[in-house]
């Protein structure tokens, strides 16, 4: 079982995130980046599958120089090897272009029985790349797995909806995106941290994937961020003093806000 896990390097959600004022893309200066927490679930699930059987976990990212940190973290957790697609032309790419680059990289890695992704990135939160990627690779698209089992040549997932839980079966190879309910990601052990130093990481450019620079980047993006403004600071809440009519005032407030 060879598994490719797609991961994203994102600005730490704990720090103040903003856009770059020159081109309205994600600002990475002065903000710590990390492996998207939602992708850690995908890495963990891949490791569990391989540990229970056999095979190899390849972690794949598309991003700037610092994105190597996301690959490294996954290798420290236990993935076997990494691929980092890094090309200046990719800067500002939208989901469509990102999925193209990922798809070509997965083809070049070759022999993937299973492609795993997180349910969304913690910065863009578009949640569309898994579907686009499955489409580009011609793989069954099995999204939002809260449980995953691999049995022979098929994969079974449970997808929890608001009203019902679905069990979905697909033949391998397949693409599965996993939710944050599926497992509890491990933290790298010291041996994992040491071992990661010796694990192979390949860095590819667009030319290695046969992707033309005109297909990706800010100029090729179908959508662009035109402008951004900071969310205004939260207004101070309204304090209702109870002078015997507190209940009535509360009901009036809720009614005015159309809560009731």
């Amino acid at each position: 079982m060879n598994i490719v896990v797609c991961v994203k390097y994102v600005p730490d959600a704990q720090s103040e995130r903003t856009f770059n004022e020159s081109d309205n893309t994600t600002d990475r200066v002065g903000v710590d980046g990390l492996l998207s927490e939602l992708d850690e679930y995908a890495v963990e699930e891949a490791l569990k599958i391989v540990e229970a059987g056999e095979g190899e976990v390849t972690v794949l990212t598309v991003g700037p120089d610092q994105a190597a940190d996301a690959v490294k973290k996954a290798l420290q957790m236990g993935a076997d090897k990494g691929v980092h697609v890094n090309d200046e032309a990719i800067h500002g790419s939208d989901s469509v272009a990102t999925s193209l680059v990922l798809a070509e990289a997965i083809k070049k890695i070759g022999d993937a029985d299973l492609v795993l992704t997180g349910m969304a990135s913690t910065d863009g939160t578009m949640s569309v790349v898994p579907a686009m990627l499955a489409e580009r690779l011609g793989l069954p698209q099995v999204t939002f797995a809260s449980e995953l089992t691999v049995d022979g040549q098929q994969v079974t997932i449970r997808r929890d909806g608001d009203a019902a839980s679905e069990t979905i079966v697909a033949s391998l190879p397949a693409l599965v995106s996993v939710t944050d309910q599926i497992n509890e990601p491990r933290y790298p052990s010291f041996k994992g941290i040491m071992a990661a130093k010796k694990k192979p990481v390949e860095t590819w450019g667009l030319a290695d994937l046969g992707v033309d620079a005109s297909q990706v980047g800010l100029d090729a993006a179908w959508t662009k961020v035109e402008s951004f403004t900071k969310r205004p600071p939260r207004q101070q809440g309204q304090i209702v003093t109870d002078e015997g009519d507190g209940g009535t005032k509360l009901a009036e407030f809720l009614s005015a806000q159309k809560f009731i």
Partner: protein, 400 residues
């Protein structure tokens, strides 16, 4: 000089000087893993452990530490992780940011018990104990201090006498971390001049004549097992002695390892208290505004941050020296003397910012403060480290 406009990175209130810049990615990864483990397995429970004076499933916790690689992490081989001294220091800091007692468990296991065997033991002793101690399956303790001999261990009364090929140990050890739960004790005893003076012994704790009653009524390090070791005619085979060292150098070399970790660890307690005080000050309102806005509070917070920053720089410098193999014991004394003193002061000041809440276990501050009262005197009292520094400055020993 370039005048290029460069966007400044944001200020991190908990790392005002930006000392993180001095750490490698691997060092940060080690720190992050220890923090994650503590967030999950220690922080939610430790106030309760402290209050009850008992850690639930301490062996399970030790195995979790082992699987991360914390136990004997700075030792090479025998299942140990082989990390750097600086990484070990950072791990101690994170552990002690959770609780000094939990850090003590790791210090004693790795730097005292395991280090003694790793540095001075026979190949058989290493093979027998180190891999199991690295995983946390076996817990170790270290018996040097006695009821009547603390700073002056050379005067110890615990005796080892030869009886045929065997060794027989008699005596008592006091204030021994991990004692009552240990599988193996490294015990230092006076074997008499003809056998090399003070010698170390690897004592399986199920040996007849060995017992380790728990010391109760502590108001500090309550989330830590502290014990007395009673050695009543403990008969050991000839190969129980640590063959590679004779004299006080043996135990003192181990203490130097553990003290190095404590130089870092105390800063963890300080950081946790400083952070608690800072957050509290921003939320707590008096006279219609947050107390963080009062100059006296800011003075306290600023002084705390200064001392924390300086202590961290000192610890990091000592770590780099240790990794380079140039760290002297006097320098460890300098670090321990400064960092525990300042960490304790930070905790006490934090306590005043929290007012009455400062004495509640709902906040970590009083726990850290009480813990550091132990750390202040264990592994060398303030007085002893002061005299070591004094000797280094003057060339004159004031105590020997």
């Amino acid at each position: 000089m370039t005048t290029q406009q460069q966007k400044l990175p944001p200020v991190d209130p908990m790392d005002l000087a930006g000392i993180d810049d001095l750490l490698t990615d691997d060092e940060k990864a080690v720190r992050a893993s220890v923090r994650q483990l503590c967030d999950k397995l220690v922080d939610p429970y430790v106030a309760d452990w402290f209050e009850r004076g008992e850690i639930d499933d301490i062996r399970g916790l030790a195995r979790e530490f082992g699987s991360l690689g914390l136990l004997g992490m700075h030792l090479e081989g025998y299942g140990c992780a082989g990390m750097s001294a600086t990484e070990y220091g950072l791990a101690c800091l994170e552990l002690e940011a959770s609780d000094s007692g939990v850090r003590s468990l790791v210090s004693v296991q790795g730097s005292l018990a395991m280090y003694a065997i790793w540095r001075w033991g026979s190949e058989e002793q290493k093979q027998q104990w180190l891999p199991r101690m690295a995983t946390g399956e076996a817990i170790g303790c270290f018996g040097l201090t006695e009821p009547d001999h603390g700073s002056d261990p050379g005067s110890m009364r615990t005796r080892a006498r030869r009886d045929g090929d065997d060794w027989v140990l008699d005596g008592r050890k006091m204030w021994i971390t991990n004692g009552s739960i240990a599988d193996v004790a490294v015990v230092w005893a006076n074997a008499g001049e003809e056998h090399g003076g003070i010698r170390g012994f690897v004592v399986p704790t199920d040996t007849p004549g060995f017992s380790a009653p728990l010391i109760k009524h502590k108001l500090s390090l309550r989330a830590s097992v502290t014990s007395e070791l009673v050695l009543d005619g403990v008969r050991l085979p000839a190969d129980a002695v640590l063959p590679e060292v004779r004299g006080l150098k043996g135990p003192l070399s181990c203490l130097n390892e553990a003290r190095f970790g404590i130089v870092w660890g105390a800063l963890g307690a300080a950081r946790s208290s400083l952070d608690a005080a800072r957050r509290y000050a921003m939320e707590r309102e008096q006279f219609g505004r947050p107390i963080a806005g009062f100059q006296l509070t800011q003075q306290k917070l600023a002084d705390m941050a200064l001392e924390y920053t300086k202590g961290l720089l000192l610890a990091l410098h000592l770590g780099r020296r240790k990794d380079a193999g140039t760290l002297r014991p006097e320098q460890v004394s300098l670090g321990k003397l400064n960092n525990i003193r300042e960490a304790l002061e930070i905790c006490r000041t934090a306590r005043t910012i929290l007012g009455a809440n400062g004495i509640s276990l709902e906040y970590p501050v009083i726990r850290h403060m009480n813990n550091l009262e132990s750390v202040l005197t264990y592994e060398g009292t303030v007085e002893m480290h002061t005299l070591v520094v004094g000797q280094a400055l003057t060339g004159v020993s004031a105590f020997r």
